[in-house]
Symmetry: C2
Subunit: 322 residues, 2 copies
Amino acid sequence: MRATGAATDLTQGVLAGEVGAIARMITRVERGAGADQLIELYRAGGRARVIGVTGPAGAGKSTLVAALGAEIRRRDVTLGIVAVDPTSPYSGGSVLGDRIRMQALGDDPEVFIRSMATRGALGGIARATADAVAVLDASGKEVILVETVGVGQDEVDIAQASHSVVVVSAPGLGDDVQALKAGLLETADVHVVNKADREGADRTVAELRSMLGFGAGEGWVAPVLATCAETGQGVTELANALNQHHDWLVTSGGMYERQRLMARHRLKTLLTALVHERLDRPVPGSAFETAVEALCRRTTDPWTAAHSLLEGELSGRPKGRP
Amino acid sequence: MRATGAATDLTQGVLAGEVGAIARMITRVERGAGADQLIELYRAGGRARVIGVTGPAGAGKSTLVAALGAEIRRRDVTLGIVAVDPTSPYSGGSVLGDRIRMQALGDDPEVFIRSMATRGALGGIARATADAVAVLDASGKEVILVETVGVGQDEVDIAQASHSVVVVSAPGLGDDVQALKAGLLETADVHVVNKADREGADRTVAELRSMLGFGAGEGWVAPVLATCAETGQGVTELANALNQHHDWLVTSGGMYERQRLMARHRLKTLLTALVHERLDRPVPGSAFETAVEALCRRTTDPWTAAHSLLEGELSGRPKGRP
């Protein structure tokens, strides 16, 4: 478990918030390496607020994340941005759309922006994103924005890996609110109708509010905000709403449930990644390989083998189930 | 671990090859239940040849599977068919296309046909398919055809869960052979260009053969066959080629490697399904929940927690890795 000198330097650099060290460390975790350092970094972290931003393609998520990031910086809060999207404008340092705002962010030493490539491996991108967030957390970033394009599993992942979830929609995306799947609708802590200068924005806001119901007054009621990320309209209100959600989590005790959900999801993505890695890249003599051999010889069955590989699985399951 | 009387009857019914019992058992495994009986059934199986059939939409896989199934039955071999495709014609007993052939199969008591719904759960459909194959194997089916539409992970799954893999293409599917991804091309034990009566079929066959190279004479060289599933042209040759591949596996020792790959894949899909189930449906007091609690309190880190949940993980990994 001893880290090499270079690895120690890398860890120290991340803890000191050095941009180069953070970048190199995230490159390591993208490749699935650096677990030694990650454990050390994880132990130094735990303070960052993670805000997930998701929604359908074309809703203007990247521009909104840039605008929200600038607003967060104006409040003197340090910031990390992880964009999980192969078409992300952050890649390679290029910027799209709201160029001035993005460059302002890019020149700020207290902002770290990173795009993550979507990989084919099951659980791979969810695991890598969580690891990148752990690196930014350890580096002292107070808020981490995680942007994902709202597709299938990624939506679920971001919702279970964030303290607050912003779901972005926009008028003119096909059937407007219908562009959001039912799951996303309920997942949101804050709803944003972006591109509010477009025709139909008011209707989209009204439709969303009616779909969400009036909120029976129990628990957090997700507000529906209108923004225009390109002009900055509504972005202050978005940052305020996110602070209100955070305060609500803390005062209501909801933070505990949220953290449990996040821990559960973290363990799931990591275990899935480990299982796949161990079975795709065999280690001779390992418990996995012994189980594979026994299965080949049919001296065991898949269920018994799987249960014996999952520690505590046999003792922890409900009665009457094998 | 004691099975109830009804469960024992179900198991006995499957072992006796009763159609109703097989159907009820597969319905159970689709729901993720019946692990007790599955262990018993698995121990009684192990003789079936599993043949995966995959390829892009529009290649005529279902019709080809029906034609191949009829050919296999003419050779007096018992047969199970599992179609992993939400658009499968087998669903609900309805038949498409080659109606007479399909009905001939459907009336044959030695053929069991089942379509599996594609589920959202990660690893869910791969696990359910493998379990359905185990049921059919235990019921005494000598050959099991597993048809999947060639999309992403499903392709990989079928290739790693079958003794022989048939990759089906057809002329006129966009860029013909380009419709096959590189991975599928190499995965095939037998290539089929279906709809051979269509214009361009000869060119597709020639293109495939040139992409596959001439085969340096080492190992199995995947043949490229032309079929017309609707008329039955080439289907005898396909069944012969599959028998040749099976004979080659047995005589070359390749069967051992193939069985290892299948065991490895089986364990991976089952462990993934178990990890997801245990973390999505918490069992108070289980090792998983203890780990989640410890993570919430930050008395552990995700890597240490995950490694301690995977038995043998710490001892079995290579040196120098955490």
